[in-house]
Symmetry: D2
Subunit: 369 residues, 4 copies
Amino acid sequence: MAKKKLNVAMIGIGFMGRAHSNALLQVNRYFDTGFDLRMKVVCGRELARTEAFAARWGWEDVATHWEEVVGRKDVDAVDIVLPNALHAPVAIAAAQAGKIVLCEKPLAMNAAESRAMVEAAAKVPTLVWFNYRRVPAVLLAKKLIEEGRVGHVYHYRAKYLQSWGVEAPDSWRFRASEAGSGALGDLLAHSVDLAMLLNGDVQEVTSIQKTFSREREVDDAVAVLARFANGSVGTLEATRFASGRLNGNTFEINGAKGALRFDLEDMNVLEFFDNTEGPETSGWRRIYVTDAAHPQVGKFWPPGHIVGYEHTFIITLAEFLDALAAGNEFHPNFEDGDRVQQVLDSVSRSALARAWQSPGGAPDPLPVD
Amino acid sequence: MAKKKLNVAMIGIGFMGRAHSNALLQVNRYFDTGFDLRMKVVCGRELARTEAFAARWGWEDVATHWEEVVGRKDVDAVDIVLPNALHAPVAIAAAQAGKIVLCEKPLAMNAAESRAMVEAAAKVPTLVWFNYRRVPAVLLAKKLIEEGRVGHVYHYRAKYLQSWGVEAPDSWRFRASEAGSGALGDLLAHSVDLAMLLNGDVQEVTSIQKTFSREREVDDAVAVLARFANGSVGTLEATRFASGRLNGNTFEINGAKGALRFDLEDMNVLEFFDNTEGPETSGWRRIYVTDAAHPQVGKFWPPGHIVGYEHTFIITLAEFLDALAAGNEFHPNFEDGDRVQQVLDSVSRSALARAWQSPGGAPDPLPVD
Amino acid sequence: MAKKKLNVAMIGIGFMGRAHSNALLQVNRYFDTGFDLRMKVVCGRELARTEAFAARWGWEDVATHWEEVVGRKDVDAVDIVLPNALHAPVAIAAAQAGKIVLCEKPLAMNAAESRAMVEAAAKVPTLVWFNYRRVPAVLLAKKLIEEGRVGHVYHYRAKYLQSWGVEAPDSWRFRASEAGSGALGDLLAHSVDLAMLLNGDVQEVTSIQKTFSREREVDDAVAVLARFANGSVGTLEATRFASGRLNGNTFEINGAKGALRFDLEDMNVLEFFDNTEGPETSGWRRIYVTDAAHPQVGKFWPPGHIVGYEHTFIITLAEFLDALAAGNEFHPNFEDGDRVQQVLDSVSRSALARAWQSPGGAPDPLPVD
Amino acid sequence: MAKKKLNVAMIGIGFMGRAHSNALLQVNRYFDTGFDLRMKVVCGRELARTEAFAARWGWEDVATHWEEVVGRKDVDAVDIVLPNALHAPVAIAAAQAGKIVLCEKPLAMNAAESRAMVEAAAKVPTLVWFNYRRVPAVLLAKKLIEEGRVGHVYHYRAKYLQSWGVEAPDSWRFRASEAGSGALGDLLAHSVDLAMLLNGDVQEVTSIQKTFSREREVDDAVAVLARFANGSVGTLEATRFASGRLNGNTFEINGAKGALRFDLEDMNVLEFFDNTEGPETSGWRRIYVTDAAHPQVGKFWPPGHIVGYEHTFIITLAEFLDALAAGNEFHPNFEDGDRVQQVLDSVSRSALARAWQSPGGAPDPLPVD
């Protein structure tokens, strides 16, 4: 069967641009996507650096203005790997030009923007690069939850801990005009997305947003209490000031039947505690998620041969292309990204107001438990 | 040198009564306290059970009404291991009778009580059994902090996670009239005490208190955001509904120079990350706190031979007796216990008010960070 | 029911003397042994030190020559905590005087001695202090093996790794005349005892014995290949030169149905891998062996409250007294200690001969697998 | 600067063929090798499968007989990923045709073959795919050893534990004529290569080789005692019957100044214990080897973003091409592979003879330590 051509444009050539290019190159080695992906054009601000990037990663053409790219006839899909402030304008333009739109997270600077993006993209397939949904261990967590192995949930606990903020040089990530927020959009966005995937809607939040470095315009850290719609108590935290933690994206779920733990620093492992075992032999199991029986793992290497960071993008892209081929809805799409954005906005509002806030609206007082 | 006699009365014969009796029996085997401890009288509600307890643990006499014990002339010190509701009346009576008073944690049902206890005991030596201060790994953490190995603190994160609440039979611990609170006084009290020991005063808190079980009168879980006086962001949590966690009393401190982690389930270990090492060889170190170079460890066994739960009581008692002999102030005393109680009260108030609250007073609004 | 008196004499006042005294003091606090233990007399070489020891630990009387003690009429049981060279003479004298004999490990300097000890003690109850058999996690391992959870065994792997030899001061432990051997009798003896407990008889061995320090007369390290009677392949190793390891007494058993791992440095945990689970959710389980459902644990503290090194002696003593009361055979007794000694001797012979050797006899050539 | 063309032929299309193809595709994305690699022709036994493989991985041409490929004029380098029995004939033919030769491990069926391969390839650059030398954590271990952080070595301990043998279907890996050996060549070869890299020459060995499954012709497990030329005691073990272990390629080195531990199942971590720290703060450090300061890691992703199994091949290829460009000798080359083979042969001889054997010759009796 002949593969369908899909011409991709990528806007942005930073670290994430490398991860996306790699995924585009690798996806058809491991998966049967049904698409003949063409890396048509890559767009960066400086021509020389963009040409070097294109040469290394196999992009056919280069551009230096995104406006020239998003409407090109020979482009089917636009992939956005830009500072957050540019997500909305580029995505909206691309969507209005009828392109498939893939966008880095967080989807937008705020919920007003993300809402506008959802509307603009109502008729095109979309993707938000919450790549950690596709860590095989996270896919397994989702599966075990759906199978009832955790049961009624009491606690959802997530942290995204990094340390580079303590001594970081200046970057667009510290400027409010480009990043919108700091730890909130950069790290907590991932935690909120996973929380909603695994534990459902967030009902209300209260929070601290903290900037430790005087010269920075955005939050270095954020800590959140949350009530979930399923009745569970949530704590979420993200920081760039957690000495000792490089990429500690963790969660723990405690339910009536079992519990799950995950740490991105040990990303090929999911820990599972089965309450139904009885005390003599129950214990936290380190499930080494590298077996063909585990979600998506069989596409890569034999049991015991681990995958790394970049594979989360490959799996995400593969599942997006499968959905595209089948005409199915893909998640996380712009609507999912918008829902995350509404939670993030409520976190910011609660920090400012020093009060509980609900996503998507005015504070919605709940009865005290 | 002849040892000074010290006659002890203990009120209560539950699980904690065993731990205290053991400490009284063992302290002079491992430490040179200068006191000849006499286990004079133990008091329980039922005579037969109390006699059996006394026989097993070597108490000379038994009683069934605490009122008869606290004023006995042949008693120098009264040790209280009763449900929380009885702490204040017994401690106040004992203090008024001029006795040394040792009391289980939490010190009281609320800060009004704990304040009254402090006042009543102004002239007698006191102790609150926050035994986890004397885990050797915690003593080492305190020492490293004082030596500047952690530096300016950004984050203090504490959890006390247990799971027995999911399927527990009825107990005084679930009745408001006897326990006052649930996870708050039982577990979070320990976390707050350690937090204040290691990270200083708590400035304000906001929280969730949650009762998952309909038939219970007290909180099954509590989650807290805190601002510390040193500028660090705190998250504290305690629960009896964390499946998979038996006694997960943990903390993590992230500072400019280093970080520390502790988990009571692995109590002979302190984890330390030294930021000053440089990235090539830095990493979380599992310090196996069993060496004579470590605080109090040399009193027990050679390096590599671990101590257990009960030793925290032995060390606490030894240091109390040392302070008593030297005429020094011991910590944690009733004043420390009262300060913890004030934080716990502010946590309860904040949960009820759905708002930030300060310990020891009305909400004290801080500028947003 | 009145308890039966049992008068104990202990010969030796070193570090192990403390551990035994503690067990004698504590056993009736936690267990119902049926015996009223009297700590009658303790014997050390120097009177002043022995008196101080007796005062601290509650021994009624002191002596400075073991010959005066082993035959005392007011002594029912003799506990030997002396350098290895004295085990045989003291034990034989005590047994000939009709005393119950408890002896530290290794039972003897060599199998000739241990055989003589078995013969001399044929009519009295005996115990060898292989205390690590009674770590609750090891008791659980034994139970799971007996229940078939490991199945047919392929591999038994044991190491006893310590590091203190690198910089140790002189000690009787380094003199051939007093210790007999180094790592072999001190550490490998424990590993061999556990191996025979958990995996059955050793058929033949080949080995390296190595002395790294020129000034020492005994082996600093020993490494062994073994064939077990059950067909499994064994590797055993013990050393005082393993930097980083304080008390790393470990084993791993791989069988057709499951696998077990243990490390004394984490002694409240047993790791279990259940092959029958299927690849999706199987993983090494950290069984936190602190539940009342676990062997002997319920005698001490509630779930999640760990025991330490000293408790292995308490449990050993309790089970010995239970066997004594019931008239049952206790293990490990002198016969068990002798069997271990025969394996140790064959290890020494194989190192010297650079050839495979069988315990208990001349080399017994096996067909190559 | 124009890149030099290098045309590659690969013989074999199994699981390892995928790993090599991936490395050829990826190496220039992350490294600047100076070579324009052309994936010229891939050779498999079945045409259809070979064509599908070529299409997926981007090979320009296909072949079904290796004899037609090794001498092709448009081929500069031949990469051999065949069952062990074919390594020697293909490598010798390719070398005789003047090609660069890359060969999977173990280099040969035995040392006679590997010696012939070394001779045939004396004038061409060669590589043996001992890919685990290039795990970044292993590169770091090598660096720390060279810097003296471990000091004089007492112990080298290596295990390569897998479990798939318990229930594996038939495969060439179980047939003597194709594989030559089982765990020995498949797993222990890696351990021996790392041992010689990190700890130098092996002087003599004694061993057990064991076949648990009656229907198999090769060893399921092998256990070895070794003396190294540096005076350290070695234990090495490899098995396909270690339930619970998927890819447990581990080593531990204990030296006078420090110790190192590695486990391929946690391949982005190196554990280091620094003896020079003093007992108060020393502990095993988990060095998370993902920083730009670590060897080769900076070529991939930012700190905290792990690499996986496939990257070991990419790094190996990159370093080989660098050496090729610079005219430097690369390791491991065929001479290194031959040295490993000699150790493996001595292991087999020792198992058969039930006696110590030396690599490369007749048994060379050493004085007993």
